[in-house]
Each structure stands twice: as C-alpha cells, then as structure tokens.
Symmetry: C2
Subunit: 213 residues, 2 copies
DNA sequence: ATCTCCTCCGAACGCTTGTTTCGCAGAACA
DNA sequence: TGTTCTGCGAAACAAGCGTTCGGAGGAGAT
C-alpha cells in the first residue's frame, strides 16, 4: 500500500482541500470535505485521508479539528516573507530595515519559497530605479533581494554604499589589503578601486527578480 | 475604537497565531491561544480577536473552529504554485506541461505572490542552461517563469520554438504579414526574420529570477 | 466456493470548540 | 458620587467535529 496511484476520489479530495485553503485561509473539516466532494459518509473521508497521509500528500494531527496540512503544490509551504523596503538608486543609500522589525500589515511583501533562498532569514528587497546597475546585469525595474551582511567573502555580489562618492552600487567585492576592488559582474567593464573605509556593505545579493515591461 | 494601537496582549496573540500556523499548517483554536498566551479565559481571547478583526489584522468566520486567517506578513498570503518543469536550452523545446496537470508532490515548485504576477494562473518555470539567452539579458542559471500563451501580442517577450532550426529562443515577437520578426531584448543585436509557420510560441515570459552564483 | 482485502456506508459516541451570559474591578469623566 | 467604558474572569451551552464500530459489496486469490 506504500506508494500507489491516487484514486479519482482521492484526487478530488486533495483538490478540494487545496481550493478550500486558498479560499478560506484555513483547512476544511471532514464534514465539509464530505459535502464538497459529494461523499456519503465522514468515514469515507477519514478512510481516504488516512491513505493520503500515508502516501505523504498531507499531514494530520489526530483529534484536532481541521488539522490537515497540505504538503504539495498549492498547499502551505515554508515561505519566507520579504518586505520590499523601497527603491535603490545610484544617489542614495538603501533603506535597510532594522533587525526583527515588524513590517506594517499593508506594506508590500514578497514571499519566497525557502528552497529558493536557502532558508535565509531577515531578507529584504528593493526595486531598482534607473540604469545605474547595468554593469551588474541588473536593469531598471528589477527587484533585488538582499540579506543583511552576515559575513562578506571575496567574490560576493554586494550592495555597497560609497561614502565619499555618495553613491550606492552593486559589485563583486574583493579586499586587497588596504584597498577594496569592486568588480562589475559584467566582465567587459573595468573594476573600481577604493579604500576600505570608504565602502559600507549594505547587503549581499541573494536574488534578482525581473518582470519584462 | 476604529484604528487604535495594538495592546501588548494583542501583539502577543497575533505573534502566537503566526507562529502556530507556521508550525502546524493550520490556525489555532481559541483555547490554544488562551493557553499559549497565558490568558485566563476564552472570552478574553474572543474579546481581543474581535478587536484584531475590526482593525483588519485578521479575518474570522463565525461559528467555525480555527477559522482565523492572518492578513499580514508571515500569515497566509495568496501565493501561486509554479512548477519548475525542467531546463531550457537552445537545442530542444521546452517541456510545457499540460493544462491542469497535477505536479507530483515532490517536484520542485516555486511559489510566487499573486501580486508579483498579476494573479495569472497556469504558470510554469524553466531553468536556463547555457548562454544562449544572453541576447534577452537572461543568463545561465536564471529561472524563467512562463505562462501558456493566452494571446500573443506584438512586443511580447516570448519563448519560441523554431521548428526548422530545431532551436528554442527568447525574443520579442512582432508579426509582420507573412513573416515574423524576432527582436532580441538587447537592442544592440540584430533581429531574426522567419516565416509564421516556422515559429511555435511556447510561452510568454512573466518573470526572470536570478541567484548570483 | 471460501477467504481475504479493499472500499464504502450509516450511525452513534464523546470530546472539542466558538459563543454567550453574568459578574467584577479599575479608569475616565461629569 | 454616580455613570460609563474597557478589559478581564468563570462557567455553561449547543453545535461542530474526529473517531469508531458493525456491516455490506466486490474483486481477486486459493
């Protein structure tokens, strides 16, 4: 019985649960599944839910109402909220949010699957304004997801605030003794050299998201 | 009473609900909130939940157990499952999934917030293999999110399968009478002209996601 | 045919859960 | 001082809910 094909009834139940959660924000009760799928008894639902649980499609807590957790697409997944804290432009620093700061409930928030970002926490995102990041292959309108600098290693793509120039830019960073080499991701372009005190790493790039205009 | 500050107790309840959902996959009961927050009575929970509901932090369905839906970051959000169906390379077509096809439960799945993709459904994604998409400003390792061609308009960035050449590419499409102009997003590059029967539009690009190596 | 396993049905049991009621205490206010 | 409002506490109610049990029908094996 370990891993068998889903019956039509089981597929229907699964789809009903998925849709119910999407609509209500909480899982259905057994009797709601019964009615929603046109089944004749709650015991049929229970029977098939046990099968689904054993096959790994759902997770259930016994003796608890609505304790059904979908483990598949459309169900609940480990998703990390990523607040979009503002825009990034050449002429001003990134508005890095404070650690543990609660976003207001209506602030724009991305949610990204844990797997995509390696389970990192404390991420935030900015929209790119202007064409100042083209040398990092990042363009107007892109969304850049950053993490607070945990540890900056040579070769990391980071957002740096150049104090002297009053400018923020995305570059690969290499520390070379007293000075810092900022290398554009675009290999055709020349690196920038500056002193270590002049650079403030505001975040490490975790992801770039683009929507075509 | 309309919009006031959250009391410490309300903040605690909210945080408990958030954490409970993250842990269990379904909302807590009133009595679980009571115990989890060290409150003395269920009526206190009910009292504060009503306040939270009126302030717009949660949504409740009356007379239904565990019918609490978080409306803020960390809670449930409208998220669309996007299966990653394979890789896209120059030399072969994209494995476009059939409409309504259920992904296997262990297939890799992105989840993207509704707002980011305009509520589109039936999306799928592919990983980019090779450097064949550079003229669309898309690079090795990027993830391209596509929608099934609902209606292709001139200027759309689409994935096209060139039957004659046996090749897939990402270009902006313009129909010019009998022939089709495929324009690279990179303006410095030259367009391709071909006949309408030679192109098969496999998807429209909705989003590009990049993780720096 | 007999047995076993799978799937389903109907009903009942008992706990869980949201709701309600009544009451109390303190603060704000006139 | 009396009134009102807020926030809290204890208990009870009724409906919702997951579970369980006996049994039926069918398919396949022996």
């Amino acid at each position: 019985m370990a891993t068998r094909e889903l019956t039509a009834k089981q597929r229907r139940i699964l789809e009903f649960i998925r849709q119910f959660i999407a609509e209500h924000g909480y899982p259905p009760s057994i009797r709601q599944i019964q009615e929603g799928c046109g089944l004749s008894s709650t015991s049929v639902v229970d029977y098939n839910l046990r099968a689904l649980e054993q096959m790994g499609y759902i997770r259930r807590d016994r003796e608890v109402s609505r304790a059904i957790e979908l483990l598949m697409p459309g169900g609940r997944r480990r998703v990390v909220p990523v607040p979009v804290v503002g825009t990034i432009a050449a002429g001003r620093p990134i508005p890095v949010p404070e650690e543990g700061e609660w976003s207001a409930p209506w602030e724009e928030v991305l949610e990204l699957p844990e797997g995509l970002i390696g389970g990192k926490e404390g991420l935030f995102a900015v929209r790119v304004k202007g064409e100042s990041m083209v040398d990092a292959l990042i363009f107007e309108g892109d969304i850049v997801v950053l993490e607070r600098p945990p540890e900056v290693r040579d070769g990391d793509l980071v957002a740096v605030w150049l104090k002297g120039e009053g400018e923020v830019t995305l570059k690969k960073i290499y520390r070379e003794g007293e000075r810092v080499r900022l290398q554009p991701a675009n290999r055709a372009m020349e690196p920038i050299y500056t002193s270590a005190d002049n650079v403030e790493v505001q975040g490490r790039v975790v992801m770039v998201i683009r929507r075509p205009s």
